[in-house]
Symmetry: C2
Subunit: 790 residues, 2 copies
């Protein structure tokens, strides 16, 4: 998003491997809840304080666990979804309330002497240290550390220490499992301005079971309408020098272990809290209870130290395969690792669940998954954490029945995947920017093909890949048609740019569908037996090929540029002067006006030039970029990273650097002023995209991995790592050369700026020429890329 004027200090200490914040401004607490969220892709815990308050959005999420709510329409229509899934804040196990001599520890009262929070990208933990003096003058030091385990996906754990300073102190700790938390924060605001959403989420959980024993307790609840059941369990280890009175209770929405003790000066109360979570649409309450009991037993048996050790080991392996090193901009280095870390958290252990647009960091977008995942997040996972990528695609495949049913409902062939969903059913309540965004299905197909090419995962291809590709090819070959001129057209749909909707022959969609059709033909030829089971005939694949070959590619001969959709370049110009200060435009202009003018919300054709770059000449790319960049307003966080790649390719390196910064700092600098509701996972993935595909120039057209690296003057060094089938490579770029190393695995054929080479045991070093110096086009007024105060 374009931003305006100067930017304040965002309060983070620059550190290559940590996000560290010393602030405790209550007004910005919602941001830190998202930025400091910990997750393994299955369980997500927002970065709230253990003491429960102050809090903006408490947030404990289980991937795939949702409630239903009605979608109302002023005028309904056939095929409009009647209900939407929405992510539910499940039983909160993060809470450990503390009373210091009868006073509740709360940062809003007393005085905070020291306060620091650290999200550590290598340990995979959130640490915190607070020195606080109560209103009556007692001072305590609190240290906590929490993790959501990457190695044990149903487990989270918290280490909580309290140390009295200067005197002996009476302390009471209350460790909770708390269901149906009030969603409102300190201001008492409700779950949503939308009364329907608030109604669905106001106490969404119905208690099924509450039990406790010793230091452990369990709560099981189900949702009213979606009838999903979730179980949460906790157990504790307590270390204290003196005596401690403990009691436990569990009833309805609350389980609580109370520890009352007097801690001597110089001594500590240490509580280790183990949490186990599970949910199911089918399993019984006793079965789920058993599952979380087992998780807790496993966690305790492992113990805190070993859980931490496993976590660090898991992350060591991740960074070995995924790290990006940057020199010349240490804040960017930190931000890039922050991004990679959060994408790992979003996708690591989803295990056949979606990767939501906000990960598990907040309730934004109702917890839905969009095309973002396959198009922005999956490339990084495919080349750095392929197991996670495969799991995501297995989730898509698991929703095949729903996608086929949706296609049938709408009169289409094959499988039509939802624009937004948690469980695979369409949740879009405005079809021109939802159902009409059919490219999501092509995006899934192309992510599938990319994953298969990059990993050689034949089991996946046989079990899921062929079917995904076949049913999506069926969808597109039925969706479009050959006109009387023999051109294959896809009419009346919406591409990535949501300011141009229900258009004919959106170039992005046509190219994405073209590739999806060709990938299906290829996959069928690799696995004829699987294809036969799916009823694929030679005539059918021949038709897919002809649809792909005859695909309409709208081009304006007079202007010498491609058209984002047919007739796009004939539409009225947008009055950018008049719209200055009225961004995002969708809040200030009607769709009907946006749709019929040349104003682009987010990279669309320019994005296609990256994803389907072999379909454009270099001259076309330059002309297209120069035409579309000045009419693109980046009202979507998905735009800057794509434009950065294209800018880098055509040689506008300064501009590419600024655009990359805008993407990477979307959340750390809260450029959209909505981080509180969750991180923008796809924009974070832009950090990877811009390093690897932007300044690294990596492309993967049909399996041939090629590079065309070029650094912006702001950076002196960039290296990144990729895994391609069995080969791990490292690419290191400086201003005038690139070094390619094979870290492990078999030799690999690559290319550097168009020159092919085989990478074996010896590093390959190649020179980099400076790009021709060109004046970059100018953004619309007020839409200049974000530039940090450096």
């Amino acid at each position: 998003m374009p931003t305006h004027g100067t930017h304040p200090d965002h309060g983070f200490d620059v550190h290559p491997w940590e996000l560290r914040w010393r602030g405790f401004d209550i007004d910005t607490i919602g941001r830190t809840e998202a930025l400091f969220a910990t997750s393994n892709g299955h369980i997500g815990l927002r970065g709230t304080f253990e003491e429960g308050e102050p809090v903006e959005v408490p947030g404990t999420y289980l991937n795939g666990f949702y409630e239903l709510r009605d979608l109302p329409y002023a005028e309904s229509g056939y095929g409009f979804p009647e209900s939407s899934q929405t992510v539910v804040n499940v039983t909160d196990g993060k809470v450990i309330r503390l009373l210091v001599e009868d006073e509740p520890m709360d940062l809003r009262y007393g005085s905070t002497v020291e306060h620091e929070r650290v999200l550590d990208f290598r340990s995979g933990t959130l640490r915190r240290e607070t020195m606080w003096t109560s209103p009556t003058g007692r001072t305590v030091r609190i240290r906590s550390e929490r993790l959501v385990s990457f190695t044990k996906r149903t487990v989270a754990a918290i280490r909580y220490e309290v140390e009295p300073i200067g005197e002996d102190m009476s302390l009471v700790a209350q460790s909770d499992l708390l269901a149906n938390e009030p969603i409102g924060g300190p201001g008492g605001k409700s779950a949503s301005d939308d009364p329907r959403l608030a109604a669905a989420l106001d106490a969404p959980l119905v208690a099924d079971l509450a039990d406790c024993e010793d230091y452990s307790a369990v709560l099981v609840h189900h949702t009213r309408r979606s009838a999903l059941t979730a179980a949460a369990a906790m157990d504790h280890e307590i270390e204290v020098s003196g005596n401690a009175d403990t009691s436990i209770r569990a009833e309805g929405d609350l389980a609580r272990l109370t520890v009352a003790t007097t801690v001597e000066q110089g001594s500590k109360l240490v509580i280790t809290k183990y949490l186990g979570y599970g949910w199911s649409a089918r399993r019984s309450v006793p079965a789920l209870r058993a599952q979380v009991d087992a998780a807790i037993a496993m966690a305790k048996e492992t113990g805190w130290d070993a859980l931490k050790a496993e976590q660090a080991e898991y992350l060591d392996a991740f960074w070995r395969d995924a790290d990006i090193e940057i020199e010349g901009d240490s804040e960017l280095q930190q931000a890039v690792r922050f991004s990679l870390f959060h994408i790992l958290q979003a996708g690591a252990r989803g295990q056949s669940r979606a990767i939501p647009a906000k990960g598990l960091t907040g309730p934004g977008y109702d917890g839905h998954t969009f095309w973002d995942t396959e198009t922005f997040v999956m490339p990084m996972l495919t080349y750095t954490a392929p197991a996670a990528a495969g799991e995501e695609l297995r989730w898509r495949h698991s929703t095949m029945d729903k996608a086929k049913a949706r296609a049938t409902e709408l009169g289409e062939s094959g499988a039509m995947f939802p624009w937004r969903s948690i469980n695979g059913e369409e949740c879009s309540g405005y079809w021109p920017a939802g159902t009409a965004g059919v490219h999501v299905s092509a995006d899934i197909a192309n992510a599938t093909a990319r994953y298969i090419r990059a990993t050689g995962d034949e089991a996946f291809e046989i079990e899921c890949g062929v079917e995904l590709l076949v049913e999506i090819a069926r969808f597109f070959s039925g969706l479009g048609h050959h006109d009387m001129n023999g051109d294959f057209r896809i009419d009346g749909i919406t591409g990535p740019d949501e300011y141009t909707a229900v258009a004919n022959n959106n170039l992005f969609t046509n190219l994405a569908a073209q590739q999806a059709l060709r990938e299906a033909v290829t996959s069928v030829s690799r696995h004829p037996a699987v294809a036969r089971e799916l009823g694929v005939t030679g005539a059918e694949t021949a038709r897919w090929s002809s649809c792909a070959d005859d695909m309409t590619i709208p081009y304006d001969d007079a202007l010498g540029v491609h058209q984002q959709c047919e007739a796009f370049t004939l539409l009225a110009p947008w009055d950018f002067e008049a719209s200055t200060g009225r961004y995002p435009l969708l809040l200030n202009y009607p769709y009907y006006d946006l749709y019929r003018k040349q104003v682009v919300k987010q990279a669309d054709l320019v994005f296609a030039m990256y994803l389907f770059g072999d379909r454009f000449t270099p001259e076309q790319k330059l002309a297209n970029f120069d035409y579309y960049y000045p009419i693109t307003v980046r009202d979507s966080s998905l735009s800057a990273c794509c434009e950065a790649v294209a800018a880098a390719e055509v040689g506008y390196l300064d501009l590419a650097f600024d655009l990359m910064s805008e993407s990477v700092f979307t959340d750390l600098h809260d450029l959209h002023n909505n981080v509180s509701s969750g991180l923008h996972i796809a924009a974070l993935a832009g950090a990877w995209t811009d390093c690897v595909a932007g300044f690294g120039g990596m492309r993967d057209f049909g399996g041939a991995i090629t590079f065309a690296p070029r650094l912006p003057r702001q950076l002196s060094y960039l290296s990144f790592r990729m895994t391609v089938r069995e080969s791990r490579i490292l690419v290191a770029v400086t201003a005038d050369s690139a070094t390619y190393r094979l870290v492990s695995g078999p030799t690999l054929e690559l290319a550097h700026h168009g020159e092919r080479f085989v990478l074996g045991d010896h590093p390959v070093i190649r020179p980099i020429e400076a790009p021709p110096s060109r004046q970059a086009p100018i953004a619309p007024p007020g839409c200049e890329p974000y530039r940090r105060a450096l």
Copy 2:
């Protein structure tokens, strides 16, 4: 609407000047409530029984009186209307309940010996005669007659007679004013399936005043949200041979006069009930009460007989100017007069209020007015009841502030009129088929220009006409733009065909806008002083002319047909075989599928060929009709009459006759199975359109009235009347000749099949040649035009 299979007897006696029905099938009672509705355009009474029940929708309406309700959105957007107006059933004064020896008279019980209802097009009354035997064997004859006065617009009256048969009988009559009637009928169904609508309309009226004295009573209520106040008053004359005990009371939602008497055999109880209605957004309760008291005083002073005489006199004058005579099809004759009568009822005395799509005959479409009024209803009123036409346009002009505010809200210039409304504010909850239907503004401009040309009403033009034309020209000149080729384009809007929406350069809209722009230039040149007050400059009118001159007219050179919108002929064909039996398509197919294929809901380009026929050659008209008729499914009642005109012009007279029948019998034969919620006023106006513009071939391009009459073989004679400025003419058509007569007024230049002549004192007789014999195109399967069992 296309219909399927054979049709039952609809139960109406064929009569040239009456609609007479002897049936009393309770299941079809809702139909008769609409068909037998009486109205003067200000007050509307559905044709319910005086006894109150059985009833499907009780229905008493005051034009312009509405309640507000929220419009909800699953995903909202800028400029989406937040609330809608919806017509309210006001205080019901039709009710006169009858007890026959303690048994309530109710057609559902006992036995009905005779039953007949007559809507008389010349007396302007609804008569009824029922001979009914109670469950205990008492027989009474009931005669009633009611009218809503054309001459006294705030007055309605009912004459109600009860005659005991065969014995003296104790009778009690209860004459009510009843507010907040349950909307549900015998089955207890609610006001609407839509809970929001039901909530708004469940007891919408709040009591302000109830008073009574002698035989008279008054109730005043207001609506909760819209804060409109309505008053209803009644007074009575009672004629009975013996003594009658009477009592009156008024409280809250009910005022009741009770008359208890014993009537001797051979004698009658006769009650004459006078009703007065009024409403206001501004006037106080006492003021409104005074207004309806005055209405009642006037009505009583006039008396029943004189009210009837005035009514008949009013209608004599109407028929003198508007009657259409048909020979060869007596059912069609009846249906055409039924149509003209109801259009008069809808528009006669609206007096600066809208003419709703359902008139005042039912709650359908929430009581809203659409483009139907200016485009379908206004031509008939303009040439037959010009005063009513002028009033309608004055209503549009009175909403100018709202139309300008809406334009400003949506970033447009000038005035943007609502797609659907009661008070002038947009009520459309689905913008692609609402706000995007910008042609409504051009339709208003063109109706304005037509009215000015046909009447020479200079006072109207100065007070309203110039401003309407100027502000609408400003809207269209701002809405479209000149592209780099110098063509003026109007992109991203929706034409009449709602199965193709958010399209570029819809031909209908472009031609309508072109004409509206030119009419504005002409009007400005006639009234330069008015234009100066509106700030019109020479540069502005020059721009309007250039927009009109450069208007894009999409045409497919390869096929030799116009395109309904740009690229329309390149869209995928619709699979009509597969959709057989799945009409209306919008209930069975998603918009996204309908929009991107060649399937037409209702005449669009074909309609443009009638309204803007001077922009097409005869060859183009034929080619276009042959192309578009086979892909038009007539899922709208607005389609058949337009297609009939075009079919008649290109020489498909049999087809034109069938299409005309479909339009004319839309309501009498309940072809859409929804007459209960109100008549289709625009489809009824199609009766006039098809006689005058279809078989009469009347056109009015730029003020030159021309004819090209040709009868279908089913008719032996057709005559119609028109008023053009001061001249009244009669056109009589037989198979081989047409006779033009000047009934009164100055001579008039006309044309007959292209040959100009001046019509003076002597009739002009001209021969008619048979059209070339051509095979008409075939409708989509299952969409064949309605054909009566003759």
